[in-house]
C-alpha cells in the first residue's frame, strides 16, 4: 500500500467528522473544549470566524455535523454540537472589542449586495474589514432574510438575531431598506466594482388542484409565516391542514398552534421514513400535539357557498419493495378545515434580471453559477445562499458567502478566481507528561443530554416565548465531556516503532494492525477488525524498521483515547492537535 499522505490537510480534517461535515468547517472540538474550560467568549469568537452567526445557528442550524458525529458510530447519539454553540453565545461576555472592524481608510472598491439575508450579511462581514464599501439593497424594512421573516420567534428570538446582524452592520454597511432591486441592468449601471446576488429563494411552490383560487383561507407557507412575523396575521381558524412535511411545514403548524389552531394536521403523501423534516423538528411539533398524517395525497379543496370547508385526499397503502416505496390507492377521504397552509417547497425567481446582460440562465430559468468561483457567466457578478442553487439553509449560505467574498476580493485585486487559496494545517503534540495530555482523553460514555423546554401552557401564551431553555450548567458540563476530541490526532513515526504490539493490544476499538504490506484489498483482510466505513481512511505507514511490515489504522472508530500513544515505549504514536487553517478574503493561510 502507498503510505498515507498525512501532510495533506484533508487527511486529518476527514477524521474530525463534524468539522468535515460542517459546510463552513467550524472547529467544533476546539470550541467544545473552550466551553469545557468556561472560556465562552473564546468559544464564541472561534465559532464566529467560520460560521458568522453562532447565536442564531446555536438555535436553528440544520446541523449536518451531528449525524456525522463519531459518537453516532461509537454509541448512537451524537454530541449536542449545535446546542453547545448556543451555550457559548448565551454565556459570552461583551465581545465588542474582539469584533472585526472596518478601516477608516477605504480601499476605493464598492460592492453591491442584493438582499440582506445571511448570505449577503456574511459577504459584508468578510469584505468590510478589508476596506470595501458594501451597499445592501433589501426589499423588506428590516434585515435578516428568512431568518427574520420565516424562522418563528419561538425558535429564534429577535434580540438574538439583532445582536449578530448588528455586529456586521455596525462596521458601517450601507443598507437601503425598502429598496427592492427591480433591474439588474440599472444596478450594474451604478458602477459598482462587483455585485453579489443574495436574494434567496422567496417563492413558495403552488398546489394547482381544483378550488385553489376559490378561497382566501388557503395560504402559501413562507408568505404566511412572513405576514405573521410582521404582525399582519395574528389569528388562524381552529382546524388547520398543513400540506407538506418539510421544515417549513413544522414552523407553520407550530405557529398555527400559537395563533388559535386547535386541531392541526400535517398531511404527508409518504410514510415517515421519507419525510424531509429533520427528526428533531418533527419531535418538537409532536410535543405540541400536532398530528402528522401519512399516506394522504391532496386532490381538491372543498368549497361550499364560497367558503372553504376542507379538503379531499386520496389515501394510500405504502410498502417497501426491494428498497423502493410502492404505494397502492385506497379510498378517498374528506378532512374538514378552516385554513390550509401549503408548505411544499420554495424556489428562487429572477424576474428582475434582464436576459441580455451576458448572464446565462439554465433550463429552470436559474442563473448559472460557477461551483468554484460563485460567479455568474458575467464577470463581476457573484451569488450565494438560496439564490445560487435553490433553498438550503443558513450554514450553507454562510459557507457560500465566504467563498464568494474570496472571489470578489480576488476579482477586485485582479488575481485569479479559479486558483483557490489552499487550506493549511498545524499539528502540535498534546503531550504534557508521561501520561498526561493537553486534553481530557477519558471521554464520558453517558448519553446525550436532553434539552429542556418551556411547558406547553406557558409557551403558547405568546408567539415569541423561546421554547428551548438551553442547557443547564450541569448538562453543559456533561455534554462537553461526551466529545471524542477527534482533532487530537494519532500521528505515527515509522522509524521509531519497535513492533512491540503494545498499541495494537491496548486499542479498545481494535483500530490498529501491524501486518505484511501488499495490495490494499489484501491488507484489508489482515486487519484486527474489519474496516467497514468507506468514508474513513485506512492509515498505512511506510515499512517498519525491524520486519518491514506496516502499521495500519482504521480511522473509523478511534475514540482518541491516546492509549496507543501512552503504551508506546518509543513515542512512535503521538497525540497531536490538528488545527485546520481556512483561507478567508484577504486572509490566506500562512502555513501549508
Amino acid at each position: 500500500m502507498r503510505p498515507s499522505d498525512i501532510g495533506n490537510p484533508d487527511y486529518f480534517h476527514k477524521v474530525v467528522d463534524c468539522q468535515w461535515a460542517c459546510p463552513a468547517h467550524t472547529n467544533v472540538p476546539e470550541y467544545i473544549r473552550l466551553i469545557a474550560q468556561g472560556r465562552y467568549t473564546d468559544a464564541y469568537m472561534l465559532n464566529r470566524e467560520s460560521n458568522v452567526f453562532p447565536a442564531v445557528l446555536g438555535r436553528t442550524c440544520d446541523r449536518p455535523c451531528e449525524p456525522a458525529c463519531r459518537r453516532t458510530r461509537v454509541d448512537e447519539k451524537p454530541v449536542a454540537i449545535c446546542r453547545l454553540k448556543r451555550v457559548a453565545s448565551d454565556l459570552k461576555d461583551d465581545v465588542t472589542a474582539l469584533l472585526p472592524r472596518a478601516p477608516a481608510q477605504k480601499n476605493g472598491k464598492r460592492i453591491a449586495c442584493v438582499g440582506a439575508g445571511p448570505a449577503s450579511l456574511a459577504v459584508a462581514n468578510d469584505l468590510m474589514p478589508l476596506g470595501y464599501e458594501v451597499t445592501i439593497f433589501e426589499k423588506s424594512p428590516i434585515p435578516g432574510g428568512l431568518m427574520r421573516t420565516n424562522i418563528p420567534a419561538f425558535r429564534l428570538p429577535a434580540a438574538v438575531l439583532d445582536e449578530e446582524i448588528d455586529m456586521i452592520l455596525g462596521m458601517g454597511v450601507d443598507v437601503r431598506y425598502g429598496a427592492p432591486v427591480t433591474s439588474m441592468k440599472a444596478l450594474l449601471a451604478e458602477g459598482y466594482d462587483a455585485v453579489f446576488v443574495g436574494s434567496g429563494a422567496p417563492r413558495g411552490k403552488e398546489l394547482d388542484i381544483p378550488g385553489r383560487r376559490d378561497s382566501d383561507r388557503i395560504h402559501i407557507g413562507i408568505d404566511w409565516l412572513e405576514s405573521v412575523a410582521f404582525g399582519h396575521t395574528d389569528r388562524i381558524g381552529e382546524r388547520v391542514l398543513i400540506i407538506g412535511v418539510g421544515n417549513t411545514a413544522m414552523d407553520c403548524c407550530r405557529t398555527s398552534r400559537r395563533l388559535g389552531g386547535k386541531d392541526i394536521k400535517v398531511m404527508a403523501r409518504k410514510p415517515r421514513a421519507y419525510f424531509k423534516a429533520s427528526p428533531w423538528e418533527l419531535e418538537d411539533a409532536e410535543e405540541e400535539h400536532i398530528e402528522i398524517v401519512i399516506n394522504h395525497e391532496p386532490i381538491r379543496f372543498v368549497i361550499e357557498n364560497g367558503k372553504l370547508t376542507g379538503m379531499e385526499f386520496q389515501r394510500f397503502e405504502s410498502k417497501e419493495e426491494g428498497g423502493k416505496l410502492v404505494q397502492t390507492k385506497l379510498d378517498k377521504v374528506f378532512l374538514p378545515a378552516d385554513d390550509v397552509i401549503l408548505a411544499i417547497g420554495q424556489e428562487a425567481a429572477f424576474p428582475w434580471i434582464e436576459r441580455d446582460l451576458g448572464i446565462d440562465f439554465d433550463k429552470w430559468e436559474m442563473p448559472v453559477v460557477d461551483k468554484v468561483t460563485f460567479q455568474y457567466s458575467r464577470p463581476g457578478v457573484f451569488s450565494g445562499g438560496d439564490a445560487a442553487w435553490g433553498p438550503q439553509n443558513i450554514i450553507w449560505a454562510v459557507a457560500h458567502a465566504h467563498q464568494a467574498a474570496l472571489s470578489i476580493h480576488a476579482y477586485c485585486q485582479g488575481t485569479s478566481l479559479t486558483e483557490r487559496p489552499p487550506q493549511g494545517m498545524t499539528l502540535s503534540s498534546a503531550k504534557m507528561g508521561l501520561h498526561e495530555w493537553s486534553y481530557k482523553n477519558d471521554y464520558n460514555s453517558i448519553g446525550r443530554q436532553k434539552m429542556k423546554h418551556v411547558d406547553l401552557v406557558e409557551r403558547f401564551k405568546k408567539m415569541n416565548v423561546e421554547v428551548e431553555l438551553g442547557f443547564s450548567a450541569e448538562q453543559t458540563a456533561r455534554e462537553v465531556e461526551r466529545c471524542l476530541n477527534c482533532d487530537l490526532q494519532t500521528v505515527f513515526t515509522d522509524s521509531l516503532c519497535i513492533e512491540c504490539d503494545a498499541c495494537v493490544d491496548v486499542c479498545p476499538v481494535l483500530c490498529l494492525t501491524i501486518a505484511p504490506d501488499g495490495e490494499e484489498a489484501d491488507v484489508r483482510k489482515r486487519l484486527s477488525a474489519p474496516a467497514t466505513n468507506p468514508k474513513q481512511d485506512l492509515f498505512a505507514s511506510g515499512p517498519l524498521p525491524q520486519t518491514s511490515r506496516i502499521m495500519l489504522k482504521d480511522e473509523d472508530l478511534c475514540v482518541h483515547c491516546g492509549l496507543c500513544a501512552e503504551r508506546c515505549p518509543t513515542a512512535a504514536w503521538d497525540m497531536q492537535k490538528f488545527n485546520l487553517l481556512l483561507p478567508y478574503a484577504g486572509k490566506p493561510c500562512k502555513t501549508r
Partner: protein, 351 residues
C-alpha cells in the same frame, strides 16, 4: 502506567463466544507495566485464547509468583479466581489447588527469575507430578521488577544495559522440561501472536503440565544492542520449526492441510493439535529427536519456536493417582473424612 481506564467503546464486529462474552469481556485491569513490555502482549494472547476457548471466567484460576510477569494475571479476566504467591512458590500453590478442585482451569504465569532461580525446585516438581495447568514463563533474561539484574536464563555473552557481559551458563526451561519428562513443551515469542495463541489454547486443553516458554523482551532493561532477549535479536534469530493448529473437540474440521501435515495429535478431551510446516527431520512426539534437534539449532544461535514436544499419552496428576472424579471441594465431610473405623482399616492394610 496509564491513568485512565480503557474506554468502554467496542468495535461492532466483536462477536460473542458461546457464553455470550466478547473478547473484551476477558480483559482485566489496565496494565501497570512499562509501555512496550512483552508481557502485555502475552496477556493479550491469553485473553484471546480464553475467549476463543469459551472459558467461563468463574471456572478459571490464575496463579503467579513475584515479578513483573507475575503481576500480569491482574490484567486478564477480572472475574476469575486468583492467587499471587510468595516468590517462586506458585507451582506448589497450583498443585494444591488442582488437588482440591480438579474442575478449574489453571493458568500459572511466572518469570525466568521466578521459575528458574528461586522457584526452580518448585517448577520441576510440578512438571514431575504433571499438574494439569498451563504454565507460562515470560522469559526476558532479567529480573525486570528489581531493575534488570541478569536472570538464570541470560545467555553467555549477552550484555547488560550498562554493557557488562553475562558469564554464567543459562538454564534453558525447554531443555530442562524435556529432560525431566514434561508432556507438553513449547517456546514462542511475545511478538508472534499467530504462533502463540494456538499454543496457549492447546496448553489449556492438555491433560497435564503444559510448559510454554515465551521470549518476552523487557523494554526497559533488556532491549538494547548486545542483548539476546531483545525484540530485534529475537526477530532475527527466531526459527519457527513447525506450526501448530488447535482444533477444539466438536469443532467441524474444515481446513485441510495437504502440504507438510506431518502429525495430528489427539488430546485427552478429544481436541486435536495439527502440526504443519514441520521440518522433515523433526518429530514433535519423539522426545529424544526433539532434544537433539533443539540442541543442534540452539548451538547455532537460533531460537527454535513452536509447540516443540507433545506426549499424547499424558496423564495428569489426578488420573495417575486415580483420585475420584468429583473435585474434593465438592465431597461431603463424611466422604472426605470417613471416620476412625475407616482409618483403622486403612492402616491395617499397611501392617
Amino acid at each position: 502506567m496509564s491513568y485512565i481506564k480503557k474506554p468502554v467503546a467496542r468495535h461492532p464486529s466483536l462477536k460473542p463466544n458461546t457464553l455470550g462474552l466478547t473478547l473484551r469481556d476477558y480483559e482485566g485491569a489496565m496494565s501497570t507495566l512499562c509501555a512496550g513490555c512483552g508481557h502485555d502482549s502475552i496477556t493479550a494472547a491469553i485473553v484471546r485464547a480464553l475467549y476463543e476457548l469459551d472459558t467461563p471466567p468463574h471456572m478459571l484460576a490464575k496463579l503467579s509468583g513475584i515479578g513483573c510477569s507475575s503481576k500480569t494475571p491482574t490484567y486478564f479476566v477480572s472475574g476469575s479466581h486468583g492467587f499471587n504467591s510468595a516468590h517462586g512458590r506458585m507451582p506448589a500453590i497450583a498443585t494444591g489447588a488442582s488437588a482440591a478442585n480438579r474442575e478449574l482451569t489453571y493458568i500459572g504465569v511466572s518469570g525466568d527469575g521466578d521459575s528458574l532461580s528461586i522457584g526452580l525446585g518448585q517448577m520441576v516438581h510440578a512438571i514431575r507430578r504433571n499438574v494439569k495447568m498451563l504454565y507460562v514463563i515470560e522469559n526476558n533474561g532479567v529480573y525486570g521488577l528489581t531493575k534488570g539484574q541478569f536472570s538464570a536464563s541470560a545467555d553467555v555473552g549477552s550484555k547488560s544495559k550498562k554493557g557488562e557481559a553475562n558469564t554464567q551458563a543459562p538454564l534453558d526451561p525447554v531443555m530442562l522440561a524435556l529432560d525431566i519428562g514434561a508432556t507438553f513443551v513449547a517456546r514462542s515469542f511475545s511478538g508472534d501472536k499467530a504462533q502463540l495463541v494456538p499454543i496457549l489454547k492447546a496448553g489449556l486443553r492438555h491433560d497435564g503440565f503444559a510448559l510454554v516458554d515465551v521470549i518476552s523482551p523487557c523494554v526497559t532493561f533488556n532491549d538494547h544492542e548486545g542483548s539476546t532477549k531483545s525484540y530485534k535479536h529475537t526477530r532475527k534469530h527466531q526459527l519457527p520449526i513447525l506450526e501448530a493448529d488447535f482444533v477444539p473437540f466438536a469443532a467441524e474440521i474444515t481446513a485441510d492441510y495437504p502440504e507438510g501435515a506431518a502429525h495430528s495429535v489427539k488430546m485427552h478431551d478429544g481436541s486435536m493439535v495439527r502440526f504443519r510446516k514441520v521440518a522433515a527431520d523433526y518429530d514433535p512426539t519423539d522426545r529424544a529427536n526433539v532434544a537433539s534437534y533443539l540442541r543442534e539449532h540452539q548451538r547455532a544461535g537460533e531460537v527454535p519456536t513452536g509447540l516443540l514436544y507433545l506426549d499424547e499419552s499424558s496423564e495428569d496428576m489426578h488420573r495417575a493417582a486415580k483420585t475420584v472424579k468429583t473435585p474434593l471441594t465438592r465431597l461431603t465431610h463424611e466422604e472426605l473424612c470417613p471416620g476412625n473405623a475407616a482409618l483403622r482399616k486403612l492402616q491395617e492394610a499397611f501392617r
